[in-house]
Symmetry: D2
Subunit: 349 residues, 4 copies
């Protein structure tokens, strides 16, 4: 069985493990004051072209989201998110557990627009009987594989600035967004067009780790306290530093994401060649093809994936995720299986 369920089924890119071994017995300061973390932050600052940014490494995505939002908001301030947003759909109420309402926006493509936010602001105007919308949470790529263009992001940030809203980009799959064929954003653009974002490691070749970037550190002068208080400060911070040191040395981070996207694109092309459509338009590593249920049953004998949504009596959408570790031979085999099975199914009918 080959697993397409997510992008964290394998361990880490071998360079990272190699570096862990090489550095293992070097005595280092704890709590992120080690030389690898310091060096990794330096390299990331060069990538984002912002020497003044504050960078912090923590373990995972939910932790990252709750730390950032906790740092930026008071209890009566709320988050605006797409209904598909990870913080709303998959994080066990972590944001509400901090005390904040998430106001959701229904969105076909998983993205948020200024006009949708405007509606929220209008609906939440009866001060003080309602919460105060204060932070806009977006994901890039989104939870359904779509992307923000540079102009979309610029418009969104301009709107946020104008309405005293923070803009926070969840970059759990930022690498996949930035290496997609139709992307026109750079890391440096994102650092200019958001208040805070993070660069996801876990879903792009790290054992664990996300890099939080505050573009203007004066927003959160006490973030170190918050990381520690929430239990997110690793004693051996070196482990996180080494992940990002290896990923951002020599462009590995982008190469890994590009591979995942390329594998996904091969599947996309094969699906289209076989006449199958998609639930969402994805150019990244998450695909939602709509397939005959009979074909899905057959595929399940060899492959693991999520059955996402029933479309009608005969068709369902499934979710397939590729990653830095996806084996191209398997993709070819999968494509071939699709083709063969299609023939078989057609015959059966």
């Amino acid at each position: 069985m080959y697993n397409f369920k997510n992008d964290y089924t394998e361990g880490a890119h071998p360079n990272i493990l190699q570096k862990l071994i090489e550095t293992n017995l070097s005595q280092q300061n704890g709590y992120g004051e080690d030389e690898y973390s310091i060096e990794a932050k330096k390299i990331i600052k060069q990538h984002i072209q912002n020497e003044k940014a504050s960078i912090y490494f923590v373990s995972g995505g939910t932790q990252t989201n709750l730390l950032i939002i906790s740092a930026l908001l008071q209890l009566h301030e709320a988050v605006i998110s797409a209904q598909t947003g990870h913080i709303y759909a998959h994080e066990t109420g972590a944001i509400e557990a901090l005390g904040h309402r998430i106001i959701t926006i229904e969105s076909m493509d998983g993205k948020i627009t200024p006009s949708a936010i405007e509606q929220v602001l209008k609906a939440y105007s009866m001060r003080p009987h309602v919460v105060k919308p204060k932070l806009v949470y977006i994901s890039n790529s989104t939870e359904i594989g779509t992307l923000y263009s540079k102009s979309e992001l610029a418009d969104l940030y301009a709107f946020c600035l104008q309405h005293s809203l923070y803009l926070f980009m969840d970059g759990a799959r930022l690498g996949h967004a930035l290496t997609a064929g139709n992307n026109d954003l750079t890391l440096a653009d994102i650092a200019q067009l958001t208040d805070v974002f993070y660069i996801g490691g876990t879903k792009n070749g790290a054992l664990l780790g996300e890099a939080i970037v505050f573009n203007n550190p004066s927003l959160v002068p006490d973030f170190d306290y918050i990381i520690k208080q929430k239990g997110a400060l690793l004693a051996k911070g070196r482990v996180l530093g080494i992940q990002f040191l290896e990923l951002f040395k020599d462009n590995l981070y982008f190469d890994l994401a590009a591979h995942a996207n390329k594998m996904a694109m091969k599947i996309t092309q094969a699906m289209e060649a076989n006449g199958y459509s998609f639930l969402t338009y994805s150019t990244t590593n998450q695909l939602f093809p709509i397939l005959p249920k009979s074909l899905i049953q057959k595929l399940k004998e060899k492959y693991l994936f999520l059955e996402w949504k029933e479309i009608n009596e005969d068709y369902s959408a499934i979710r397939i995720i590729t990653s830095w570790a996806t084996n191209e031979h398997i993709i070819d085999e999968f494509i071939n299986d699709i083709k063969q099975l299609k023939v078989l199914i057609t015959k059966t009918i």
Copy 2:
């Protein structure tokens, strides 16, 4: 200008003020251990026919809701509410500030059904990546004036018991529900068909005060701690005890609510007689008539009320609330004004 904006524009029923004066210099224990509070609880227990219930008096509705929900839920447990529910629409995120998500149900009549809850349970099944629905919050009468029938409530409670959900009824306007023409519930029924509910005083003739009733006290053995910790324990608890002592002595509570409903019914009949319809079917003290905008403009010269919702270019729904203190002469005048203004408007056109 006469104010129809809400049911708390006047002070308290005179009996309550009289009792405050009579008892003023009697030395009493603090923190609800006074003899008036003790007596009031005794009388309420007789009304609900449950000697074992635990009763607590606190100041207001938002406070009540947050105390009860805080006592019953752990952080990863969520509340299910209609989208119109007071806790979702008008309480500044008080429940989220405790750490709980409110999962909303869209509902035309402001009420919740077992089948709607079933949908929620299905949508929140991906443990542990989603919150755990654990408490169903309903209001009776609802925020849009509607009522639960006995069979509806019985079905809802049976469903909740079966699915290990708590059922909590917000009774900010419970008096108005129980004295509505089409009501078939009693206080004793409610004590049997919910886990916890409260009897609203503020909106039915008290200076302040809500009576929380836990039908089975073993659910919340430490509620006294929670009241104190959240700043809801009045040093002079006598003030709250006296409100409920007067309201529940000699049926005053029900008489006051019946008056409010009767005043509303007069308006309803007049509206219908003039050919106007309503946004919601209300037999209680909140009305949402749909009126010509020109008529609304004229009414605004003499009356205060909320403009609730635009219906189309010519019509809007307004909200009118009557109360224990509503003067019947004013109602007659208002009805007459409607009739006159209708003629006037028709002529103008």
Copy 3:
């Protein structure tokens, strides 16, 4: 039995009840937008000589303390309080429930000094592994009856400003402090020498109510949201407004407190005349006389009071509290009883 246990055993000063009756049927805006609240705030601003202050009325002391501290601090910021501070000793962990540590200072007289705070700052310097002290909580009069002098308060505030600490004065018994024989502070001084304080109503003749004063409103631009979210916004805010309107019209607030102090002073003098000493030096309405246990036993037959602390085999300190409602005849009787009982006890021995 006459009750000396606390200063909230009776109802309210009759003027307040009278005003409630007079204004009862006047229709008023809810949520503190009534004309009585507006007028009361105006008068208080004159007293404190700060037109720019923000004033809010809420129900009780614990609620007040938690609202203020919640508004001012982030989760990793801590409160410094005397170990006897009400927030530490009597409020069921309300401050910790908000998420903040209370760092306590042992203090013989219930007061806090700059040098004691300096010790705390030193002990909490290992950032980010410890919380960040950020707010100094003091009570005036203190929980053991003592007072801050003007120079003490000025020194404390200068220290706080220098170290970026907020200074918050709990004034549950502020009237008793300001009318004590040895007091040299005014309300206007306090408004200049703290960031925020409150004027206690409940313990000085109100049915309920505390007046929160932010001397510089820009500190807490969203305090209205916080009051609502924590369930502290009364629908009939008029009830609170009327308390303070009556208390601050014609100096009633100070007259009531002066009476309580005068009654306490009569007891103090009698105790001293009989050779009894005190646990703390109080010139306000809380006394802690040290009495023979045999005398205490006799007194308990006629009076209610707290047995505070055992001193040795033969003596204990008790706590006696007088109030605006304390009857001078009873005080005279109590003093006479002390004298008589002392003779009796001496004979017995």
Copy 4:
């Protein structure tokens, strides 16, 4: 410079890194459902001789402490800890940030006794005006290197059971406790004499990771939700599973701790041989020798350690920590340096 500051200056035991490499490309379920985590839990259950225990792997100590305490307590319930307890002294108010007061006990040896708890219960009896003590937090070995004996732990647990208190043992350095010369406890004993404890990996050879053991899982049926909600659920849970799989296969965990203790014991003997005493009686890997300040200055030229506490004008206590990675040659050199420097200093004087 050689670093004795803590037991997390190096990476991980090589076996762990080797296993990460071996298993790297095996596709595994996320969120701790991988085969390594499952196997590791199985082995730990054998060690503790409790097949029914629930075991969870998380990243670090502060995270572990806050997860467990959050799961067990309601907001009005408090923790009892020694003043030296890690949750009180070094975790940035993480427990208070959950909403719980930590009630501290002053203790010379860092341990808690039933009689000290009894004092706390007495001091916190004025329900509902004070928090309710509900959980006793102990560390073994303690933050100052001391140990609980089996009879001490048995007495403590019996007391806790009798008073409905939970007993939670922080085992950040549990390996060092269990392999100390004067230890008489086993892992199985601890599983019987606590409600919950954790086995620390980070300070004993893991890259990261602590193993939480609930001896009776019915205490916390929803712990999986809590781990996820607090951001502590690693997507690649395999990373944690592999740490404990290697540590508990073939007794590595105990061997590593025994090495650290042996290195510490060599230092202890050398200190004593040179006539130096200790601040605390430690048989584990944390030592607090009291040395002449002149000697400390000299040592600082070659070694890193904490200056812990000034004893008098001439002497201070320092803190030295050894670990699984401490090089015996360095220890010998350090011992020799002490000896040489002592002679040198003596001559100088």
